[in-house]
């Protein structure tokens, strides 16, 4: 429908209620954007002054509520460490599942539908339940049994550790990677695959040499979204690996770690003097927000491009 035609047929009468309700929906949109802006402005305004090089690069002593000596280096490293380990597990599994769903599976087969339902459900499981799962499965089952077999029942793996937190997060972010990868696989023109097959390449060669390189931006989006989601989540790691305070940086997979999101929680609820810790709280929030948000924006931009490509085809 083009604009002039609509204009021609529209009645001239000014409809007050239409105007009123259209305005209301517009206001609702503005309000939501206002919330976004309020949170961002509040955090940046209050956190900007506390965000010094010293703050980002120093390791705090036992009392991290002291604004002068505190720092967030161990938390940044802890968060980065757990997210990187998570990526190593989640990307291959997520990408392979997406490849199966788009390249191999038939859409009507019952097993495909069950896989899709499982992915959807996994995306909706509350994050705290993932925490319980990590505790019940990884620590109390896998970890304890590993200790019994390898370490003569002394507790090495059967306790909260970086690897368990990362694996729990990997399970949680699996749907994110699958959905994003699938989207980008679908955006690749079928002609490309057909051309490759016509030249004598096998299906596997086509996927490996033609399809996956084309889908790389989408896979990256999935990875980035998963990382930014995982970096901000606190509930799943509460019982699976995070530590209130650690004097040293995590070095092994069986170590516990400090975490940015959890540190924000600790600073805002356990502080002995709320007014005094507020600047460090805001500075920590700003660091967390920069990390997750920067990643998110990159992902949104890549995703918008992929979608445009998809739309251009259909």
């Amino acid at each position: 429908m083009n604009a002039p035609a609509t204009k021609h047929f529209r009645t001239d009468k000014f409809d007050f209620w239409s105007f009123f309700f259209s305005g209301l929906t517009g206001l609702a949109t503005l309000f939501i954007l206002g919330i976004l802006a309020a949170i961002l402005v509040n955090v940046i305004y209050n956190g900007w002054n506390g965000l010094t090089w010293h703050f980002v690069s120093s390791i705090p002593k036992k009392d991290f509520f002291d604004a002068k000596t505190t720092g967030v280096l161990p938390m940044i490293i802890g968060t980065a460490f757990r997210v990187i380990v998570m990526t190593i597990f989640v990307i291959p599994v997520g990408v392979i599942t997406a490849v199966y769903l788009t390249e191999y599976a038939s859409n009507i087969s019952i097993i495909t539908r069950i896989i899709r339902a499982a992915v959807n459900n996994l995306a909706g499981v509350p994050s705290i339940v993932f925490g319980l799962f990590g505790l019940g499965f990884f620590i109390n089952f896998v970890g304890k049994n590993m200790d019994n077999l390898l370490h003569n029942s002394s507790a090495v793996w059967g306790q909260p550790a970086l690897i368990w937190a990362s694996l729990t997060l990997a399970v949680m972010t699996l749907p994110v990677v699958i959905v994003a990868t699938e989207e980008s696989l679908k955006a690749i023109p079928p002609g490309l695959r057909e051309a490759s097959l016509a030249l004598g390449a096998t299906k596997l060669e086509t996927i490996w040499r033609i399809v996956l390189p084309q889908a790389l931006p989408g896979i990256m989006t999935g990875g980035i979204l998963a990382v930014s989601r995982a970096a901000g989540e606190v509930a799943p790691i509460l019982f699976t690996g995070v530590a209130y305070f650690m004097a040293s940086l995590p070095g092994r997979l069986s170590d516990q770690f400090m975490d940015l999101g959890y540190h924000v929680f600790v600073l805002s609820t356990q502080s002995p003097n709320i007014e005094q810790t507020r600047p460090i709280l805001y500075a920590t929030v700003l660091v967390l927000l920069i990390l997750t948000f920067a990643l998110n924006i990159v992902a949104v931009i890549i995703r918008a491009r992929v979608r445009k490509k998809l739309r251009a085809q259909s």
């Binding site: 429908m1 047929f9 529209r10 409809d15 239409s18 209301l24 929906t25 517009g26 206001l27 949109t29 939501i32 954007l33 919330i35 976004l36 949170i39 509040n42 955090v43 291959p92 599994v93 599942t97 199966y100 191999y104 069950i114 896989i115 339902a117 992915v119 959807n120 459900n121 996994l122 909706g124 499981v125 509350p126 994050s127 705290i128 339940v129 925490g131 319980l132 799962f133 505790l135 019940g136 499965f137 109390n140 399970v171 699996l174 096998t202 596997l204 970096a231 901000g232 509930a235 509460l238 019982f239 924000v264 929680f265 805002s268 929030v285 967390l288 927000l289 997750t292 998110n296 918008a304």
Partner: protein
């Protein structure tokens, strides 16, 4: 002429297709890819299995918190059945199986010591004689010693632990419903605006920005609610306690708005253009078209958005944990509330691994998992039906 055997090429060893040459690598890769893709199903099953496994003793009444119990003397170990001893020592069946007689005897000595250690003033307390993890005490109001009337109490600390889960259900529902009551109108309104009324350029900018809201970690929303919003809302509504279920609910709304918005927007956009064009051609205004034609057509999708938003809201942990956490049995929105997720997050660290408190927290987790599972299923089913209907499939 001999026809080319193309479609019924002979199947080789274990279903390997023989074309120009056998490709066992291809076959193997396909099977491997298939196996890996089953991991999503495996994970859902494992989550259910292992959360339920830790909670099972509560469902079967194998936990016992009674302080004063009938003492079984160690010498009488053989006179009682295995099941009795297992329950008496609060062991799981597999733990019990792995223990020899000597260990059991030591455990019974320890148990007798613990039972004899109970302070004298509890011996006459009727509450000390009951198992508070029984379903009767978990669900129904009970008149505790020292209270005037039967009450619902969640108080897992102290000598007599009270595990009534009703206050947690009320708290969860209260916070969730406030959140949805705030988020659904806003998100659906914005979805109507963005999908139907806004110019394309506005749509292209607004959509990613609202999606960005979902990228804000929930602890950050929690800090904002705790420090800024709580004060602002108190000034507007003038209630007494600064941190309450209302503040938590609104903050929760922030977290679910992007979820509801993107699903509702998707549903509204997928209504065929022909509907809109027909209505506009008949002289309806843009608003009338959106409200009377597009919205009713997309209603199942919008409903699904609300259901999925509900699933997301009852599962949200950190926001409610930071903003309010006292467990009060009250439907008043300006009272504090403690949701199920909050309870699990706050108390798991204190709960003894394998003890009754630990088991009940896992049971709450299992219930939560079941609730979100059902709401996800309903949401997905409705969306599936809706999309098929629009595409003309049955």
């Amino acid at each position: 002429m001999e026809p080319l055997k193309k479609n019924n090429a002979p199947l080789g060893w274990m279903g390997i297709h023989r074309g120009h040459q056998a490709r066992p690598v291809e076959w193997l890769a396909e099977k491997l890819i298939f196996l890996v893709s089953l991991s999503a199903i495996a994970m859902v099953l494992l989550i259910f299995l292992f959360v339920a496994r830790e909670a099972l003793p509560v469902f079967f009444g194998e936990t016992n918190t009674a302080l004063v119990q009938q003492i079984i003397p160690t010498a009488e170990l053989d006179k009682h059945s295995d099941a009795e001893i297992q329950r008496y020592l609060e062991l799981t069946p597999e733990q019990f199986k792995n223990m020899d007689k000597e260990t059991l005897k030591t455990l019974m000595d320890v148990k007798i010591e613990a039972l004899n250690d109970v302070p004298e003033n509890f011996r006459n307390d009727p509450d000390a004689h009951v198992n508070t993890t029984d379903w009767k005490y978990l669900l129904k109001a009970h008149q505790w010693n020292g209270y005037d009337q039967p009450e619902y109490i969640w108080q897992p600390v102290g000598q007599i632990k009270k595990f009534n889960i009703i206050p947690l259900f009320v708290g969860t529902l209260k916070v969730t419903l406030i959140g949805l009551g705030f988020a659904v109108p806003l998100a659906v309104g914005a979805a109507i605006y963005v999908s139907q009324l806004a110019r394309p350029r506005i749509r292209e900018t607004v959509k990613p920005m609202i999606e960005m809201l979902s990228g804000i970690p929930s602890v950050v929303v929690g800090v904002f609610a705790l420090i800024v919003m709580a004060s602002v809302l108190q000034k507007i509504f003038g209630y007494q306690t600064r941190l309450n279920a209302f503040v938590a609910g609104i903050a929760l709304g922030f977290a679910v708005i992007p979820v509801i918005f993107s699903i509702a927007e998707d549903a509204l956009t997928s209504v065929p253009r022909a509907y809109t064009q027909a209505a506009l051609a008949l002289g309806a205004s843009r608003w009338q078209t959106s409200w009377q034609i597009v919205l009713p057509a997309a209603l199942p999708g919008v409903f699904a958005a609300a259901v999925l938003g509900f699933g997301r809201a009852i599962g949200e942990t950190m926001i409610v944990l930071m903003v309010c956490s006292a467990s009060v049995m009250s439907w008043n929105v300006f009272d504090s509330a403690r949701s199920i997720t909050t309870t699990i997050a706050a108390e798991m660290a204190e709960a003894v691994n394998g003890g009754p408190h630990y088991r009940i927290l896992f049971m709450l987790g299992a219930l939560l998992f079941a609730a979100t599972f059902v709401s996800n299923m309903i949401g997905d089913f409705v969306i599936h039906r809706f999309k098929n209907k629009l595409e003309g499939k049955r």
